[in-house]
Subunit: 428 residues, 2 copies
């Protein structure tokens, strides 16, 4: 991570013994840090603590001592395990007071669903003295906003469906009074190169990064993201915006064809928009990717406008019957070969009547590899009006990682082809 | 979460400013808590802290005061941002010492790859005085094991590919000297019922849970897991094992047909094993699931033994051409209908020569719904030797959640059919 922003920070605490097991991932903090970032805030620290009162009190005490702003999620439910209210009250040396109006609201919530309120929910009508109540339209646990001598502690329920709207509608607007910073942001997405190659290519940019600009590289096999962020503040916002754009443009120029989006969109979305703009259609024939390519394409809402059909021809017989791949070719070259990839792409293109067709055939692993055709070897085919092309690829990683990388390659071949055709059309 | 185990606990600290952004999920703690659990340990607390020296020192100081065992991950790299060694040394009032033998190893690592060691890596040859060095075969940062008056702090590198083997090969064996507990474990997986229905069904079990048995329910749309765990210790292990089995069997009996695995396996794996055992084959025809069904089936290594082909017939034309769904049927009943789901399943079964065939047609959303055919409506078809069956389903959630639930339903229909056929065969 290059450069770290000047810090307007918030401390985050998640309460719940289940978050300390291997089965639950604490994800509220990701949502919260994303939203806070939009106002120019960052998290200073995250703590996950159990439901045990003494441990909870200790963590809250430490946070209250060191941080001006604290967000606590979870432990506001109706059961004996929900002790956040009590812990905060004890640390602050204050008490819980019963609020009839809150109880009435909780009861109404149950009754409007035709249910009787369980006695245990009465607990949720106790609030910390002096706290402002934050309404929870999606659950029984109200939130609390506590202010003491310029310090703020916010208590929110743990379930994301309850927490998220409360953060957006109640917490963020209240935080604005502590000041707001506009943040410039760009997410550049790349495929076709690994993290170290991307780092090497953009190295010249590092030398002259504006002090407040943060550059983060995120990599998974088959995909790299470069995130640029810069808070705008101080005297000359236009100069800062210009400096930000210069870095962004330079990164994009250095990476060239590798960049498929500068707005953080997934590749299947970028390609879908290209197809839609060009009024063209697509089909695919998959062997080793086993449906993942069609699945990614159809994860985009509205993809039925350009995606006609996909064939998962796993067996040799289906390659012959569905796609017309000659039996002799399969026998002679093997299913994992350039020739079969080409025949698959051309076969599904012809059959479906689509303008473009993609194909994959390879060895996803972990078994089935050989010296000549190792695990990770994948041929990717593209058939287009007037021709076809095939690439030979050697991917590393697990079965699912090999499948993903093969679909990235397929979509990227189509992206570049569509772009070239558009350029040519422009020249004519 | 019902019952919490007696606690043999470890405190966990992850170091790295990037882990406080919205882009990085801290996942090492999941791996570590899973491995620790096998020895009967749980995490007491997780903290994510930035690279800033003062903040890092404060967090380490607090942990050292309150916990007997502490695991710290990250911040051992060669850059200026890597300050874990320094912070720990300062908190413990000790110093860093240079180790020629470590430097030689790091240099050798570079040279064997044909590279010159960058000067910055020299940093990694400094270790905390009195610490045992834990070798890192997959990276340049060695780990450190520190023991002081019965307290232990372990420093490990952050990258999962380096950390994981070190935890398994170096940390767990050393932790065993603090005692070891055998843990009984079962993961019961369910589809076809939501979390609250599952909770209602197994409620009778709660009344007589053994004190040390922990029961955790995990739910996502279309899938529920019940995890049972119980450390075995004290006088009568057989009695404890029997008590555990009784609870497990009772849960399975109460849930009946809903249970598809008692060993935590995914549904596509369970169905794959049924097909393999029966020597039968499968094909599928997908509309709204867009390839996800084939993708899940082919995520299982060796699935090419029973999976013949999948067709993603997204357009009406492809439903007619590929599957022989009559145009009049599509016109009269619409693509999203019981009749079309049946024709799709029967069509792909006939065409592929498979014994079984699954089909999906529905409205995944977010657009495309109507009063009569709302978003989430999915017909799932199953064709088998001698007949076919179709279910009408109304799923809730996002586009991807609707797709997933439809594939769960399809796989589960096949699971139940295969089981029934096996039962019948057994009776003959």
């Amino acid at each position: 991570m290059k450069n770290q922003q000047e810090r307007r920070t918030i401390e985050f605490i998640a309460v719940g013994s289940e978050l300390l097991t291997p089965y639950f991932l604490e994800t509220n903090s990701l949502f919260i840090s994303e939203k806070l970032q939009e106002l120019g805030w960052t998290l200073s620290c995250k703590t996950v603590v159990s439901d045990r009162l003494e441990e909870l009190k200790q963590v809250i005490k430490i946070a209250w001592r060191r941080s001006r702003l604290i967000l606590v999620c979870g432990g506001l439910g109706p059961t004996d395990d929900d002790r956040t209210r009590q812990a905060v009250a004890e640390v602050l040396g204050t008490r819980l007071v019963f609020r009839r109006d809150i109880l009435d609201k909780i009861r109404l919530r149950f009754e409007s669903g035709g249910l009787k309120m369980p006695a245990s929910n009465r607990r949720q009508a106790y609030v910390i003295e002096g706290a402002e109540v934050l309404e929870n339209p999606n659950g029984t646990a109200p939130g609390l906003w506590l202010e003491r001598k310029g310090r703020v502690m916010v208590l929110l329920p743990g379930p994301p469906s309850e927490l998220k709207p409360m953060v957006e509608n109640l917490v963020l607007p209240r935080l604005k009074k502590f000041g707001e910073v506009r943040v410039l942001r760009s997410v550049i997405r790349i495929t076709g190169a690994g993290e170290s190659m991307v780092e090497d290519l953009i190295r010249p940019v590092y030398k002259s990064l504006p002090a407040k600009l943060q550059l983060i590289t995120l990599a998974t096999p088959g995909d790299v993201q470069i995130r640029l962020e810069m808070p705008v503040g101080g005297g000359r916002p236009e100069a800062q915006e210009k400096a930000f754009s210069r870095v962004k443009e330079r990164v994009v120029r250095l990476l060239g064809d590798l960049v498929y989006s500068t707005e953080g969109q997934p590749l299947e979305k970028v390609v879908g928009e290209q197809l839609r703009a060009a009024g063209r259609t697509l089909a695919c024939a998959e062997s080793c990717t086993g449906g993942l390519l069609a699945n990614r394409i159809t994860n985009i809402a509205g993809s039925s406008d350009y995606f006609l059909e996909g064939l998962v021809t796993y067996s040799n017989r289906s390659k012959t019957l569905e796609l017309g791949v000659p039996e002799e070719l399969l026998g002679e070259k093997g299913a994992v070969s350039e020739e079969v990839a080409r025949a698959m792409a051309e076969g599904v293109r012809k059959k479906s009547g689509a303008d473009f067709a993609l194909s994959t055939t390879g060895i996803a692993g972990p078994g089935g590899g050989s010296q000549v055709k190792p695990v990770g070897l994948v041929y990717v085919g593209l058939a287009f009006p007037g021709g076809s092309t095939v690439t030979r690829n050697l991917f590393r990683g697990s079965r699912e990682q090999v499948k993903f990388q093969a679909t990235q390659k397929a979509l990227d071949m189509l992206r570049l082809k569509l772009r070239d055709m558009q350029k040519e059309a422009g020249l004519k």
